[in-house]
């Protein structure tokens, strides 16, 4: 030992750090860490009564029950649809637009501002606007389709779907489409900003070197830009997964608390978070809070699996320098 006893090392640890951390840690413990633990525990409680706190043992019962519930299955299906369509679509559009944005000199800030606007709206208000845009008679979408001679489409309509599976599926496809459009619109702003900041961090020398070699633009994008941008892409993907899997407010905004077009009573467009919210709203009936917890746990596990798989695969395509 080089340091004889008695000569304490100063400055090693700064205990005042805990005062700086105290408020954050307190809030973190109460509103984030404890809820995660508690949700996990509650999801296994049988016949849990919210008001008294009584329950009958721990089991997988809640999980079994919700998985058997056709509405929950629909919720999972819808959530997966939204995630697997909207994530690639919005990432591709955002990447494309930020590549163009990065290649222009003038008006970059102007376009960036416009592209950021969807981010600063209110999800419910914008959803109501979208619902109206898809209105059969008075909406702008049908008006534009009309310019091309296409007859008005009843976008948000549940007419006759209770008796006809064919009509039901058509209504379902149209509703999904609207959710996709709205979700992509909402999601691209942040992705454009993130991609653009990633692109601007790429050293210009790479491009200059490639230009000297006479490399084509497309080749440059494929061989230089995309590999160097890959850490950003991974980050965008992971945050998108989290956002997409918790889809809820946009559905409520478009379809209301019934999660479907007027005339539908099957909660056609419900999502996992929607299912959770409904169970929680019913908190007085025994077991409903623990069912909500099970749904939440399933959601978290799904997010974790997708993220883990992606991080694993990412080792093949993400280049850190």
């Amino acid at each position: 030992m080089l340091r004889p006893k008695g000569t304490a090392r100063r400055n090693r640890y700064d205990n005042s750090a805990y005062f700086y951390l105290l408020p954050a840690l307190l809030l973190l413990a109460v509103f984030i860490v404890y809820p995660i633990m508690n949700t996990l525990i509650t999801s296994f409680k049988g016949e849990y009564r919210f008001l008294t706190g009584d329950f009958e043992g721990y089991s997988w019962q809640n999980y079994v029950e919700i998985i058997k519930d056709p509405i929950f299955r629909r919720a999972i299906l819808n959530t997966l649809f939204i995630a697997f369509v909207c994530i690639p679509a919005s990432m591709a559009i955002a990447l494309f637009l930020s590549l163009i944005l990065n290649s222009i000199q003038k008006w970059q800030g102007f376009f960036m501002t416009l592209f950021y606007l969807p981010q600063v709206t209110n999800v419910i208000a914008a959803g109501i606007v979208f619902a109206f845009m898809f209105n059969t008679n008075f909406g702008v979408i049908n008006m534009i389709l009309g310019w091309f001679g296409i007859d008005p489409v009843a976008w948000i309509s549940g007419q006759g779907i209770a008796s006809s599976p064919k009509l039901y599926h058509q209504a379902y496809a149209r509703s999904l489409f609207i959710v996709f459009v709205y979700t992509v619109w909402q999601g691209i702003s942040l992705k454009i900003i993130l991609f653009l900041s990633g692109l601007q961090n790429i050293n210009k020398q790479y491009y200059q070197a490639a230009k000297v070699d006479g490399t084509s633009t497309w080749r440059m994008i494929r061989k230089i830009t995309l590999p160097l941008l890959s850490p950003t892409t991974l980050y965008v993907f992971i945050t998108s997964v989290i956002t997409a899997f918790k889809a809820y407010a946009q559905v409520v905004a478009l379809f209301g608390n019934q999660y479907g077009p007027a005339g539908d009573d099957s909660k056609m467009m419900i999502t996992i978070v929607g299912y959770m919210m409904d169970s929680m709203g019913d908190y007085l009936s025994p077991g409903s809070i623990s069912k909500a917890s099970s749904a939440a746990m399933i959601l978290v596990v799904m997010v974790m699996i997708v993220t883990a798989v992606q991080i694993k695969i990412s080792k093949k395509w993400v280049h850190y320098n």
Partner: protein
């Protein structure tokens, strides 16, 4: 104030078990009021030593005394030092005035001290605020930046920023001024100017100053004393000219001469010194037979008119001229090349044979460990 280091040691813990020893049992005394150049190649532990004196790095072992006070365990702000960083560390959002005044206005201890000083001194200042302003302006005047007090650091040149950094360090009248590579971020022209400026400021204030540098020319030019470090070990301490003339070992000789020195292979056999394979001259005092390295500075090798004592012959292989300095390369009998100054810019022809002699007391003989065993 005198600074004394006793067995000062710093070990940095690394990820693996063994730690890296940056400074190794350093014993040093720096006399009050001196300007000291702490010199060495990068990684020699000079900045680490400076930061231990400053109180920014912990000490692994050993003691630091300021006069008779043990400050080893004292935190940086209690040591009464001023520190100038290599990159100046000016606060970019504050004006020059605010930067200089920052140490005076933002420490409780300092405020207490200043209030007391203000009360005691019955200075000319009408109030405390004016007193602070006077301190700031005095510091600014000393480093000659009074014209820029309202500017932000980003609007100043590198040399001006350096002056602000010095003003900020001396405004609190520290008893010791520490400077970490103060000139390394300046261009060559400014470096010489600023270096003389540092000398002037130090002399004007009389503050004991330690300046870390890797540039021996810088250190030699302005220091009262230089301290040479290598691998965390003290190599030599002394007045610049003395260290230059009498280097303690091969490392110091090479480092101080900035490669303007020939290191020629030779040997000692039966108390005679051999230059290469050629017998040169008998030793003034007996030494063991061994292989040696002989250090000969360019400027100490002269033409000899005739075959006098201790002279040797070599043939010209090349000539070079850089600015005002001309050099000649010559080959010894065994093929070793040495370089010397071509003082009078004589028109030497290639393969011309020269008779050379070395100035007395400037033949440096080192053993295989690089220790100096003879200087004659």
């Amino acid at each position: 104030m005198q600074v004394r280091l006793e067995q000062l040691t710093k070990a940095f813990e690394s990820r693996k078990k063994d730690s890296v020893i940056a400074v190794n049992k350093l014993d040093l005394t720096i006399e009050s009021g001196k300007l000291i150049g702490l010199l060495g190649p990068s990684g020699c532990g000079k900045s680490t030593t400076l930061f231990m004196v400053a109180g920014i790095h912990d000490v692994t072992d050993g003691k630091i005394y300021f006069d008779d006070r043990d400050v080893t365990e004292l935190s940086a702000d209690k040591r009464g030092i001023g520190l100038v960083f290599q990159n100046y560390a000016l606060y970019p959002h504050l004006s020059v005035w605010d930067n200089i005044a920052f140490p005076l206005l933002n420490s409780k201890d300092m405020k207490k001290r200043l209030k007391k000083q203000f009360a005691e001194q019955h200075s000319n200042s009408p109030n405390y605020k004016a007193y602070i302003n006077k301190l700031v302006e005095d510091a600014a005047k000393l480093v000659e930046i009074t014209a820029y007090l309202d500017r932000k650091p980003g609007e100043l040149s590198g040399g001006q920023q350096q002056r602000v950094a010095i003003a900020r360090a001396i405004v609190k009248s520290p008893s010791i001024l520490l400077m970490d590579e103060p000139l390394s971020n300046l261009d060559a022209r400014l470096r010489i100017q600023t270096r003389d400026e540092i000398k002037r400021i130090q002399q004007q204030t009389g503050i004991t100053t330690i300046m870390v540098t890797h540039d021996q020319e810088e250190a030699l030019a302005i220091s009262d004393e230089v301290i040479v470090l290598k691998d965390g070990l003290l190599q030599q301490q002394g007045a610049p000219q003395d260290v230059y003339d009498n280097p303690a070992n091969q490392f110091v000789a090479e480092f101080i001469s900035r490669s303007q020195i020939n290191m020629v292979h030779g040997k000692i056999a039966t108390n005679k010194l051999y230059l290469g394979q050629e017998e040169w001259f008998p030793l003034p005092a007996p030494l063991m037979d061994q292989e040696v390295t002989i250090g000969l500075r360019y400027e100490n090798i002269k033409h000899a008119m005739e075959n006098i004592e201790r002279s040797f012959t070599a043939s010209v292989t090349a000539k070079a001229r850089i600015g005002g300095i001309s050099t000649v390369q010559v080959r010894l009998a065994d093929g070793q090349q040495i370089t010397l100054l071509n003082d009078h810019d004589e028109s030497l022809r290639e393969s011309e044979r020269l008779n050379l002699v070395v100035k007395p007391q400037s033949i440096l003989v080192f053993n295989q460990k690089g220790e100096k065993i003879l200087q004659c």
